[in-house]
């Protein structure tokens, strides 16, 4: 113990050079910091933690699944449902970071599908107008959700849960009216016609590129010469685009900062002048819009809509967001995490069908893989950051 006095030391910004173990290499360095590699800094980002889980899942399937899973068509096959889930998951993640839930999003998919289908098939609106009506409905409904949550002060969990039931029920009633008694409304693809908008919301992109590649023998093709994969399904592009935009908003914009603040501690945020109610309203609208986008994409894809569309998607979206590192309590998470979380979930969902494991084990497998992926993600992150 050095209980000798040293009354010289008065200026705290001047480090005690005698006992310093690491001499400063540049004026900025601080003896109170261990040096860490760029790698560590990277892996410490919450969004990149989910990658560890993804890697684990991929390795698993490389070992146990049929190699067809990792051909171009196999990857597209896995990515398409992952993308649909992912669009919802990104919306759900933003809202979760903002401190709220929207359990009505799965029902919203069905409801938006009904509105869209009715506008096209029953009211014979042109596609552009039908889209307008559908998205306007989503905005109205998101606002309604937000208003009820904010005005009553009830937890959004319970309010949106009520709308989970209400919207699902309204969809059934509406479908029966629109179709004259059936739970399915058909003929939507035909009614949508073929326009610029059709290609934005359905089909594949880069088809030219793919058939060119097939001609050159770079990608697999059918005997008749058409490529087995004719292009990238548009939902995958929407998914990637949304992930990028959402990440940018979260990390780089004022609104992004407000989302974190509103979710982290709404009282503190309000005290600092963040318009918490406005932020939350916009987030509820965003989620409703994401649900509507998925509705439009799937309805245009399969050409029909039914009463069970989007069933339980709200939970899958939340799961994907949580796998991706979002906290259920709000204030923490990332869109890119939800991106990888959706891919993990999508891959596990579809992946078993590529293996020889008995399909009766599907749920055991799904649960086991999810658990493994998140535990692995967690262990890796703790190892690397030195948390304990």
């Amino acid at each position: 113990m050095n209980s000798s006095t040293s009354t010289k030391i008065e200026n705290k910004t001047e480090p005690n050079t005698q006992v310093k173990q690491r001499p400063p290499q540049q004026p900025e360095s601080d003896e109170r910091l261990k040096k860490v590699s760029l790698m560590t800094t990277l892996i410490r980002r919450p969004e990149l933690g989910a990658i560890a889980g993804l890697v684990l899942v991929v390795i698993f399937f490389i070992i146990f699944a049929n190699p067809a899973m990792f051909t171009l068509s196999g990857i597209m096959n896995v990515m398409a449902p992952a993308a649909q889930l992912g669009i919802l998951a990104i919306g759900a993640a933003l809202l979760m970071i903002g401190g709220e839930f929207d359990l009505s999003l799965g029902s919203m998919v069905a409801f938006a599908g009904l509105i869209f289908g009715t506008a096209l098939v029953v009211l014979h609106l042109p596609l552009s107008l039908a889209l307008l009506v559908t998205f306007a409905c989503a905005i109205a409904f998101g606002t309604l959700n937000a208003q009820i949550v904010l005005r009553t002060g009830l937890p959004s969990f319970i309010v949106t849960l009520a709308f989970l039931f209400i919207l699902r029920g309204l969809t059934l009633v509406g479908l029966k009216i629109a179709s004259g008694g059936s739970t399915q409304l058909r003929g939507i693809r035909g009614a949508a016609g073929d326009s610029f908008l059709t290609h934005i919301f359905s089909g594949n992109a880069f088809t030219g590129l793919f058939s060119w590649a097939a001609r050159h023998g770079w990608i697999a093709k059918f005997p008749n010469g058409t490529p087995t994969v004719t292009g990238v399904p548009v939902e995958i592009l929407w998914f990637i685009g949304l992930a990028i935009v959402a990440t940018w908003i979260l990390l780089r914009t004022q609104f992004g900062n407000w989302i974190f603040a509103a979710g982290g501690d709404p009282k503190a945020a309000r005290n600092s002048g963040v318009p918490v109610n406005r932020v939350k309203t916009i987030l509820f609208i965003t989620v409703a819009l994401c649900a509507t986008l998925v509705a439009v994409l799937t309805v245009m894809d399969v050409g029909s809509t039914d009463a069970r569309r989007g069933f339980q998607k709200e939970f899958e979206a939340i799961i994907a967001a949580v796998i991706g590192g979002c906290l259920l309590t709000g204030g923490y998470g990332s869109a890119i995490g939800a991106f990888f979380g959706s891919i993990i979930f999508g891959m596990v969902m579809i992946g078993l069908s590529y293996t020889n494991i008995d399909q009766d084990w599907y749920l055991v497998f799904l649960g086991g893989m999810l658990l493994l992926a998140v535990i692995f993600n967690n262990v890796v992150r703790k190892r690397v950051t030195g948390e304990r």
Partner: protein
């Protein structure tokens, strides 16, 4: 930084008249009147639970008064949210800090008032600039933070308080309210804060300064209002009162004096 607006010096910047505030069946404030003029530091003193924080929270829009009047530059106002108070030029450091532990220091520092840059029509936060400002402002107050992107939750109690003060100071408006800003601060940081209060007074701002430390209060205060169990015990000009009298006025002041003698120390 703050640009002080000089208006008629006789109109108080902020005035509160007969303010009453109930929480359910709890009566926190029971008829309070205060005035703050430009270029004046009003010290709010009082026992724990006297209602100081409640008073300034009402003034900064966090709570709505049960009854009573609020005047800013002579005009009656009613704040529905802290945003309104901020817009009216009232910046506050809350006792419970209004910080979000999971967010970085920079993001907390600029929360609600992010420095926005625009490129190709896209508006985004100028993170580099924000980090620099945060680091510099914290250094000014005497804290050399390791990394402005560090989460506020990992800071020490005093460091966190410094972020809150540096923030209010940086965005300082016409009236600066500080609720026990020096309570968790080290000696160096305390002197910075007191220096700063002196400085903004000089610029013509009004300051409301809450503290339990009579010496700190006396060092910078022009007026002293003492609260007790939700009521004002009186307001004194610095000229009317000495430190000792002030100390005695506060509940327990005498005991502390006695104790100090008994322990042969100067408390």
């Amino acid at each position: 930084m703050a640009s002080a607006i000089f208006n008629d010096p006789k109109t108080p910047l902020v005035e509160i008249r007969n303010l009453i505030k109930h929480f359910g069946h709890v009566i926190a404030l029971n008829g309070i009147d205060i005035k703050v003029h430009a270029g004046e530091v009003l010290c709010l003193l009082g026992d724990n639970g006297a209602g100081k924080s409640t008073l300034i929270k009402t003034l900064s829009g966090v709570h709505q008064p049960t009854s009573g009047e609020l005047l800013v530059r002579g005009k009656p106002v009613s704040f529905n949210s802290p945003r309104d108070a901020l817009d009216a030029g009232i910046a506050t450091v809350y006792q419970d800090l209004a910080m979000i532990p999971l967010m970085s220091i920079t993001r907390n520092f600029f929360m609600g008032r992010e420095p926005v840059k625009s490129k190709l029509g896209f508006k985004y936060i100028d993170i580099k600039h924000a980090n620099e400002v945060t680091h510099d402002e914290m250094k000014k107050i005497g804290i050399d933070i390791r990394d402005p992107e560090q989460a506020v939750g990992t800071l020490s109690g005093g460091e966190r308080q410094c972020v809150a003060i540096a923030r209010a100071v940086y965005f300082g408006a016409q009236v600066l309210i500080l609720d026990e800003p020096t309570s968790a601060l080290g000696v160096a940081q305390t002197s910075m804060v007191l220096k700063y209060i002196n400085l903004v007074r000089g610029k013509g701002l009004g300051v409301i300064f809450i503290t339990h430390n009579v010496r700190h209060a006396y060092a910078v205060g022009d007026q002293f209002t003492i609260l007790n169990r939700g009521k004002t015990l009186g307001t004194f000009q610095k000229s009317e009162i000495t430190t000792e009298e002030l100390q005695n006025l506060m509940a327990g002041g005498k005991e502390l004096q006695a104790l100090s003698d008994e322990l042969q120390g100067t408390v």
